[in-house]
Point group: C5
Chain length 356, copies 5
């Protein structure tokens, strides 16, 4: 998994290609590019599960919104076709099909380009899953690109179908906001998931810390390095979007500000967990050094009591012919007594030192 | 308790809900929503302990102030009613009933929205208690929302009832300031409380450090992580409020600046305690390694003195038939003497090394 | 002492008091409030050691300066009288009598309010002494408030009396500058004092480090935490003063810039000492781990040489009836030889390992 | 290799030379200065492998571009000749031939000066290779200076020759962008290379950590110190170029922004690897201290079990005449039993302590 | 040496002196103040080795430059005379004769005041030497103040005398630049010197690390603390100078920018060395803990093999009357065999554990 993650962070197109040349960089490929379409206004909704490349709709008139969701970004020809149809800059297409992007939002005049990381928790593999989602927001068209089927957009689709609330009545910018909001909610969910793991490891740390505990803490720290790298640029991207001409004066502005607050909360949560993990590592190291101390104490106590006594026994085990004590009647019990007193004296000394 | 705290930091609404949908997120629920009302001017005061939802007062004319204190934010219908009555934006209501907010102040034109964390020390549970307080400040109406009965506002109510001082003569903005001031005073109280604990642990550290001491330091550090996360955004919120149109030119501006100074002092106190705790942890680790050293020294001294002597005794315990020394008359006392000299020599060596 | 210091940093008024209510917060009280007055112009000087509250002078005409030095801030009534006489805002009076302030400078239009910490070294108690000094600077009146008799202002008074140099010829702002300059000089003096202590501890560290050395370093680090907390806001305060309307265009501006440079030098000195202390702690830890190593080496050498030899001796101390070696004539001396060779071989091994 | 690297970072001209005096500072010299020329427009291309100093082309008219690639910067006379021909400031020439530059971009009105580090991975020596590349961008002329033959520009040359894509149709600024893009691609390649090494070391760390592992981690950390020092100023340089008059309004602006994004990604990758390495070092230290613990435990268990037993055996090996137990019939088996019980008891005690 | 350095950082005038009063603060005094004069234009040069205080030249007309180099700043009367002659503010004179300044540049309208630290390596004492150099730059007069004879200005003087290059043709600001450039070159030289030492210590670290190595690293770290404290304010000073009215529009501006780049390179070098030293300290600590591990392993192996064997030998050394094994014929060789097998088994166990 770490390898997987590192690859995703570092992956980049092959050196030497001309800029704007479309080359897919990434591991995960769905078999075919699948395009779904939602065409809606306040009063109508048309949903098309599978939309062919030669059926791409023209931008609808104001009051209506077309949402194209493109699943699979490895088919560069399909991307080029879409790009040509709507007039997307080759550099944007290059960014879309290269999954090594940092989150960012760019204003291209006719359209806004937003790329973010969608995160989720894979229960089976017990690891974070990341997918790159790109949004291209025209006046009445929103095109979203994702790597694989399966996303966080289910609730948005549901709200579109039900036609309740604000979503159907608003324009494409509100739809873009809704998708980003769903993605940010995924971050919250993930932080809570990791938070639960932190709690488990914390219990383990307080009850029976072993070398596995340190491994778990390090694993969690690493997850947070990754999540942090994803969340900080997300903040910049949402902030740039909020300040852009498209959003700053519109009715969606207040929602973007709210989204920005959410991203700040995500970052706050990430940083809090990082601080907590740093504290836990300190506690682990403390507990290791405490145990070391305890072991040393036991060893020292045993050794310092018995080594001198063994020496005394050794002395009277010597075979010299002239050792007058050997013949004394009470020598043996007296010596045993002396040994006992010595041992007790040492134990007292240790207690006074606070070692027992 | 850590679990409790983490939950509070990370908690967020369930993913997938449309923005502005009211869902209470939090643990603590009072049974019923209780609304109390203070309606006052410089010369009059009307206090209503329990105000029904259909009796909510209309905004009074200038010169009078209505303070609605809403206890309990889990009843989203009640919140929606209040929001509709006074025209509060759904996103604000969503923030009010979601207890995972960072402190912030937002200007909605007609009203200011402020959300902060009210902290207090629970003597029984020996832990920090946190409650989210939201203030919505209209021209002559201030609505405050809190999670549970029991707050830091007692002295403010008392001053309202007594009618002394500046409070009754000023507008709703001064009331908002007074409430925030009371909340910030709670932070001071908490820091002093923690400061007392720091002092106790410090005494423990200097007199009889054990592994529990490290635990206490880590526990305090963790409290400070939490308090710091609460205090820093508070600073931004008060600063935003101070610079807002409502406050910046008014007579309350000078008081807001004072409040800002207080928040800075809180942060200063938090950071100082953090520095002190970091120093204490260093001292603890020093003392642990010192004690380890001391234990090692005792072990080494005992072992290095007696191991060679035991070897010598062992030699003369061997059963070879031809060991001429065994028959010498003075062999035994001489050997004892040699052993004594060896031991004394080693002790001198250790003293020269500075180990004793 | 640490306790004393912490208290001073965290101390704050009791929660719940209305803002602007005067309550003295602090330990140190002089018995009576003592007010001294210097009334001077370029050509004249009137000094009054003890000025009663009903004799407070009215602001003198331009060209003359009145300096009121108020010693003792616990008598809130006296403060209120002074505040009323000169028109000082209640919040300023509250800050003056609450000794938990951070250094700051505030412009109240009619007057400038500056509060700083005056530090000095108490030779008897071997600790840093801190006193809060507040300056209220009107057009021709400067009121300074301090907690206790005894301050750094002696040289300023002397220069006033002698009438030499620039001081008598300049206005109240130059006097304020002179007092602040005297206070900053106290910081330099203190840093030099602590620098001397650093040097002593450094000698101790290099010559005979023991656990006391670590304690001294930590104590010094703690002093620096404290001094740093005092010096950084001082920088902001002086900078705010320098940029204020009163000073920025005046002839005193150049002196304020110089004062600012001095504060920067103070901070520089503090940070340098902190870096040096951090380095010293590293050196101490190195030396501890080196000594540990040395102790372990001695133990290991002794034990690894004698434990096998003792075993051999033990073998020939066994009482089996059929141990043919026991009867051999040269067995004993040969065995001693073998033991000697073994010991020498081991010593060589250790030398090759670089342990001896 | 570290030495080599350090030299490159610190190297500087000899003190005392007048500014603008050309002195080559660097190790690597190609034998002769080699100048190659690409003269192209959208429709034509002239390539000259070796261009003499007296054949340097005059700036072509708009629509055509001349790219001079100068290999070898030790020949200061050649540099001076080029500088005179095109009017390059002596300080720029000084920077070009001094290989100790930080990446930077400077606007000299008539031309832009950009200096960056070109990095590549030397498979033979298993180390990072660095070369300083300077670009001087006039209206229709681009001069690039590099230290040695061999660069990352192969693909750019290939695209020029093939005449496909945007490159031949655009001006000199697009060519400059293409070269910088190729250089930044080299950084990506290098990060991936180092990322692979990180992965190898990580496997080693998890499977069989030894002292070599720490050495590898430190070596990688050091590579990252170096790469970081190269990448951060690169970011500033590209940003300065993006904001310069030449690029900010032009059609190349969007490409420069893309390049800037790439540099940010490089820095992100560097920082991520640094974080991962820091985590790996923590894991290594954990594993070292765990192993230490394990060793101590074995030692303690063996010693604490056998030292007391050996003492008991020693007691009954004493030669006192009156030791009644020696004559008892069952004494020996009973004693062996007692010893066995003691040993088992101790093992239980250790198990309860969690040491086994 | 450390003491010497600390003194220099912390040294300040005695508290209580009026501002602008000249008191020399510093250790190093040349016996007499020596003033040398260069009076030059593009075509002429007059050099005077020793210029008396009553012979100080008046500012020459434009096109000519007078450079007064004052060696020795302890003679405050001489300083006062110079200050009066050219109209230097008393605060500037105070800064000139107080050697505890941070580098800074100040614009006094008629003249620029620059103070920097000139560093050099004292080969004899093997330590960094620091001298404070102040420049006061009038229209056609430059006065430089230094503490002692001996400086980095030799090459500048030589270029003046030879009259080649730009120097004689330019004004006093170019001369000031040349002097600062020479001083910054001294920093480069010093960093290279320290870099060489770093390399030596590194070799020592990799080949035979002992406790002296740690000492050397700490000593180098300390040098870098010092150099860093000198270099960072230098950056601000050069930047302030670059932006000042005198330089920003002039022909010298481009040279000042180059100088600024050099200072950045100095800081870069300092920070790189700091990073390298931090890494070296980590490596040292690793190697210490590795060696500790190795020692512990040897001790444990020896002890755990022989302690049980010794116990067995002890058992058969007991003097019980009824120990049937003692009489068995093959008991002794069988026991030796058992002992051998035990030892081999343990060695195998250790090998499996990876301890051997």
């Amino acid at each position: 998994m770490p390898k997987n993650r590192r690859k995703r962070i570092l992956r980049h197109q092959k050196p030497g290609l001309p800029p704007g040349e479309l080359v897919h960089v990434g591991d995960r490929k769905t078999e075919d590019v699948a395009i779904s379409l939602f065409h809606y206004s306040a009063s109508s909704l048309e949903e098309k599960q599978s939309c062919l490349l030669n059926e791409l709709p023209s931008p609808p008139p104001p009051g209506e919104v077309a949402w194209l969701n493109v699943i699979g970004i490895h088919d560069t020809e399909a991307l080029a076709t879409i790009g040509e149809k709507y007039g997307i800059h080759p550099l944007v297409l290059e960014d879309i099909c290269n999954t090594g992007q940092r989150a960012k939002a760019e204003d291209y005049g006719d359209y806004q380009y937003v790329v973010v990381k969608m995160v989720s928790w894979n229960e089976t593999a017990m690891e974070i899953e990341v997918e790159q989602v790109s949004l291209v927001l025209f006046g009445t068209v929103l095109i979203s690109f994702q790597e694989l089927p399966g996303d966080e957009f289910g609730p948005v689709r549901q709200r579109l179908r039900l036609g309740k609330g604000r979503l159907r009545k608003q324009g494409a910018d509100y739809l873009a906001y809704s998708l980003l909001d769903a993605i940010v909610d995924g971050y919250f969910f993930l932080i809570e998931k990791i938070g639960d793991n932190v709690e488990l490891v914390e219990t383990e740390l307080l009850e029976r810390p072993d070398s596995g505990t340190a491994g778990h803490i390090h694993e969690l720290k690493r997850e947070m390095i990754f999540l942090r790298k994803a969340a900080w640029p997300l903040r910049e991207a949402v902030s740039a979007l909020e300040r852009s001409d498209r959003f700053s004066g519109s009715g969606t502005a207040i929602y973007m500000r709210d989204l920005y607050d959410h991203v700040i909360q995500v970052i706050d949560g990430v940083e809090t967990i990082r601080d907590i993990l740093a504290g836990m590592l300190d506690i682990y190291l403390s507990s290791v050094s405490n145990r070391m101390n305890e072991i040393m104490k036991v060893l020292t106590i045993i050794a310092t009591i018995f080594i001198p006594l063994t020496f005394i026994a050794g002395v009277y085990g010597m075979n010299f012919h002239y050792m007058p004590e050997l013949g004394w009647k009470w020598a043996y019990p007296v010596l045993l007594g002396v040994m006992g007193v010595t041992a007790v004296g040492m134990l007292r000394f240790f207690r006074r030192k606070g070692w027992i």
